[in-house]
C-alpha cells in the first residue's frame, strides 16, 4: 500500500517541476523587457533599471534564477501584485475559499442531480426518459458556461426576481471573515439574514458552474451502469430473488461507482476552468476573477503566481483521486 502511494506520488514530481518551469518561464517569454514587466514601471532611467535588474536577480544566469525562484516559492514568496501591492500568496489565500465554496456547491449540485439522472437513464434505456436525460446532458456540455450563467440571471434574477445578480452576499451585511467560507462565517456570527443572503447568492453560480460536470457525470453513470447491469453477478442477484432496489443500489451501483468516482475527481480541473468564467459573470470574489483581472491589467506576478498555485492544486487533487481510486479498486493497487 505504501509502495503504491510512493510510486504514484513520485510520478507527479516531474509534472510539478514542469509546471514550475512554465511559471518561471512565463516572465521571460512575455514580449517586452522583463524588468518593466516585473516592476510595472515603464521608461525608467538606466540607473534605476540597473538597480531593479539586480534586485529581481535578472542579471544572473537562467538556471540560477530558476533555483532562486524555486527557493522563493518554497518560502511562500510568490511576488507582489503590481496593482494592489499585496503579496500574491496572501491575495490567493484570501480569495481561494470563495472559489472552493463555489466549486463545492457546484459539484454537490452536479452529483446530486447527475448520479440519479444517469441511473434513471440506464434503467430506462432507450425510452423517453433516457433520451431526455442524454439530450439535456449533450446540451449541457455544448453550451458556453458564461452564456448559460447569463441566461440563468436573465430568467431567475431579472424576470422572476428570485435570486440576486452578483456578488457573494448582499452589500448591507458585514460578516467578520473567520474561515473565508461565507456559509460558515455567517453561521458563526449567528447572523441569519446574512446566512440566507449568502445562500441565495450561491444558488445561480453553483448551478451555472455545475452544469457541465452534471452532464458528464450523468453520461458516465449511465454507461457505467449499463455495463454493470449486464454482468453475471447482477443476474445472479436477481435470480436469488433480491428486491430490485437492492440489486440496483447495493450490487450494481457500488461497482458502477468506480469509474464515476474517477470522473468526479477529474472534474476538478474543469471546475477551475469554469470557475474563471463563472466568477467573472457573477462578480464572485474568487481566484478565477483575480487571475483574469491580472491578465487583463498585465499584472504579471499575479498571473505567474496564480497559474503556479492553481496548477499545483489541480495536480494534488488528481493525485489524491488517483490514490483513492487505488483504495477503492484493489486491482489498481497491485497491478
Amino acid at each position: 500500500m505504501l509502495a503504491f502511494i510512493l510510486r504514484r506520488a513520485a510520478l507527479v514530481i516531474p509534472t510539478f517541476i514542469g509546471v514550475t518551469l512554465l511559471a518561471f518561464a512565463l516572465i521571460h517569454l512575455i514580449p517586452g523587457d522583463p524588468v518593466e514587466n516585473l516592476s510595472g514601471e515603464r521608461g525608467m532611467d538606466p540607473a534605476r533599471r540597473e538597480r531593479l535588474l539586480h534586485e529581481f536577480g535578472l542579471d544572473r544566469p537562467l538556471p540560477v534564477q530558476y533555483a532562486g525562484y524555486i527557493g522563493e516559492v518554497l518560502h511562500g514568496d510568490l511576488g507582489t501584485s503590481l496593482t494592489t501591492h499585496e503579496q500574491v500568496l496572501d491575495e490567493f489565500l484570501t480569495l481561494f475559499p470563495a472559489t472552493i465554496e463555489l466549486a463545492f456547491f457546484a459539484m454537490l449540485f452536479a452529483v446530486c442531480l447527475g448520479l440519479p439522472a444517469g441511473i434513471l437513464a440506464a434503467l430506462k434505456r432507450n425510452t423517453v426518459a433516457d433520451y431526455a436525460v442524454m439530450g439535456v446532458s449533450l446540451a449541457g456540455y455544448s453550451m458556453p458556461i458564461f452564456w448559460w450563467a447569463l441566461l440563468l440571471i436573465l430568467f431567475f434574477s431579472v424576470q422572476l426576481g428570485w435570486t440576486p445578480v452578483s456578488g457573494r452576499i448582499a452589500v448591507e451585511y458585514d460578516v467578520p471573515a473567520a474561515t473565508g467560507f461565507m456559509l460558515i462565517d455567517t453561521l458563526k456570527a449567528g447572523d441569519w439574514g446574512a446566512l440566507r443572503s449568502a445562500i441565495s447568492h450561491l444558488i445561480l453560480p453553483s448551478i451555472a458552474l455545475g452544469t457541465i460536470p452534471l452532464a458528464v457525470i450523468a453520461r458516465m453513470t449511465r454507461s457505467a451502469m449499463l455495463e454493470v447491469l449486464r454482468e453475471d453477478y447482477v443476474r445472479t442477484a436477481r435470480a436469488k430473488g433480491l428486491p430490485r432496489w437492492r440489486v440496483i443500489l447495493v450490487h450494481a451501483l457500488r461497482n458502477a461507482l468506480i469509474p464515476v468516482i474517477t470522473v468526479i475527481g477529474l472534474q476538478v480541473g474543469l471546475l477551475l476552468s469554469g470557475a474563471i468564467l463563472t466568477e467573472t459573470i457573477f462578480s464572485w470574489p474568487g481566484v478565477g476573477n483575480w487571475l483574469v483581472h491580472g491578465v487583463q491589467s498585465r499584472d504579471y506576478p499575479v498571473v505567474q503566481g496564480g497559474i503556479l498555485l492553481i496548477a499545483t492544486i489541480v495536480i494534488s487533487v488528481n493525485l489524491i483521486v488517483d490514490l483513492l481510486y487505488g483504495v477503492v479498486n484493489p486491482r489498481i493497487r497491485h497491478g
Partner: protein, 288 residues
C-alpha cells in the same frame, strides 16, 4: 485506399443515429452560411446604424424588418454579425484543430515509434500541459503572446495538442507489435514509411473522432477567450466577444445576450452530435 464497400458500410453505420445525421446536416448548413456570409447577410457586420442602437428583433414591439434579429448597443445588425461569426468560428475551429492535429500526430507517432528518452520527455511535457485546466493554459499562452484572434488560435491549438499526441502514440504502440507491421519491416520498409504509410492509416478512426470533438472544444474555448477580452478583439463579430459586457444589457436588450450564445450552442451541438455519431459508427465494440 478504402474500397467503396467500406464507405457504404460506414455510411450505413453512421446513419443509424438520427442525432448523427442531424449533426451532419447542421454542419453543412453552417458551412454554407459561412461560405456565403457576404451574400446572405442583409448588412455589413461592422456597420453601425447610430439611430438604431438596441432595436429589438422583428417580432418584438419596436422592432423593424430592416434588422430581423435586432441591433447591438452600437447599432450593428445582429443577424449579419451572427452570420459572419459563423465564418469566424468555423475558421477558428478548423485552423486550431488542423494545427494541433498535424503537430500532435507527428509528435505522437515519433514518440510511439522511437520510444526511449524521446518518448519519455515528450510525454512528460504533455503531462504538464494536461495538468493545467484547459482555459488556464489558454490564458497563460495568451498572456505571453498578447490578446487577439490569431494568438487565441495558437493558444487553443496548444491546449488540444496533448490529446492528439497521446492518442497517436497509443495507437502506434498498439499497432507496432502486429504482424502486418513486422512483415512490412522484414520486406525492407524504412522507418518513415512504416510510421506514416503502414501504421497511421489504421489509427485514423479515433483521431477523426477526436478531431471532430476538438472542433467543439475549440469553438467553446475561442468563445471563452473572446468573452474575457483575450481573444477576438472588437469590432470582430466573434460570438464570444459579442457576449462580453452583455450583462449590463440583460434587462433592456436580452436578445444581445441570448442570440450569440444560441449560435455557439447550435454549432457546438452539431459537432458533438457528429463526433458521437462517428465514434459509434467507427468503433465496432460499441455497436449495440
Amino acid at each position: 485506399m478504402q474500397a467503396p464497400g467500406t464507405l457504404r458500410e460506414f455510411w450505413r453505420a453512421y446513419s443509424q443515429s438520427r442525432g448523427a445525421i442531424a449533426g451532419l446536416a447542421l454542419i453543412v448548413a453552417l458551412l454554407l452560411l459561412a461560405l456565403f456570409a457576404d451574400v446572405v447577410s442583409p448588412h455589413p457586420p461592422n456597420e453601425q446604424f447610430r439611430q438604431f442602437t438596441l432595436t429589438p428583433p422583428m417580432w418584438d414591439e419596436g422592432g423593424s424588418a430592416m434588422f430581423i434579429l435586432g441591433t447591438d448597443p452600437v447599432g450593428r445588425d445582429m443577424l449579419s454579425r451572427l452570420i459572419h461569426g459563423t465564418r469566424l468560428s468555423l475558421l477558428i475551429g478548423f485552423i486550431s484543430v488542423a494545427l494541433s492535429l498535424s503537430f500532435g500526430v507527428l509528435l505522437g507517432v515519433i514518440a510511439g515509434y522511437v520510444r526511449g528518452l524521446t518518448e519519455t520527455i515528450l510525454m512528460r511535457l504533455m503531462d504538464v500541459m494536461l495538468a493545467l485546466p484547459s482555459l488556464l493554459l489558454a490564458i497563460a499562452v495568451v498572456a505571453i503572446l498578447g490578446p487577439g484572434l490569431i494568438n487565441a488560435m495558437y493558444a487553443i491549438a496548444i491546449v488540444l495538442l496533448p490529446h492528439y499526441v497521446r492518442l497517436a502514440r497509443a495507437a502506434v504502440i498498439a499497432e507496432a507489435g502486429k504482424e502486418y507491421v513486422q512483415s512490412s519491416r522484414i520486406a525492407g520498409a524504412g522507418a518513415l514509411r512504416l510510421m506514416f504509410n503502414t501504421i497511421l492509416p489504421n489509427c485514423a478512426a479515433p483521431l477523426v473522432v477526436q478531431a471532430t470533438l476538438g472542433f467543439s472544444s475549440a469553438i467553446l474555448d475561442a468563445a471563452a477567450l473572446g468573452f474575457l477580452g483575450l481573444g477576438a478583439q472588437p469590432p470582430t463579430p466573434e460570438w464570444g466577444s459579442m457576449l462580453a459586457g452583455a450583462l449590463e444589457f440583460i434587462q433592456r436588450a436580452p436578445w444581445v445576450v441570448t442570440l450569440p450564445g444560441l449560435a455557439i450552442l447550435v454549432t457546438v451541438l452539431a459537432f458533438n452530435l457528429m463526433g458521437d455519431g462517428l465514434r459509434d459508427a467507427l468503433d465496432p465494440k460499441l455497436k449495440r
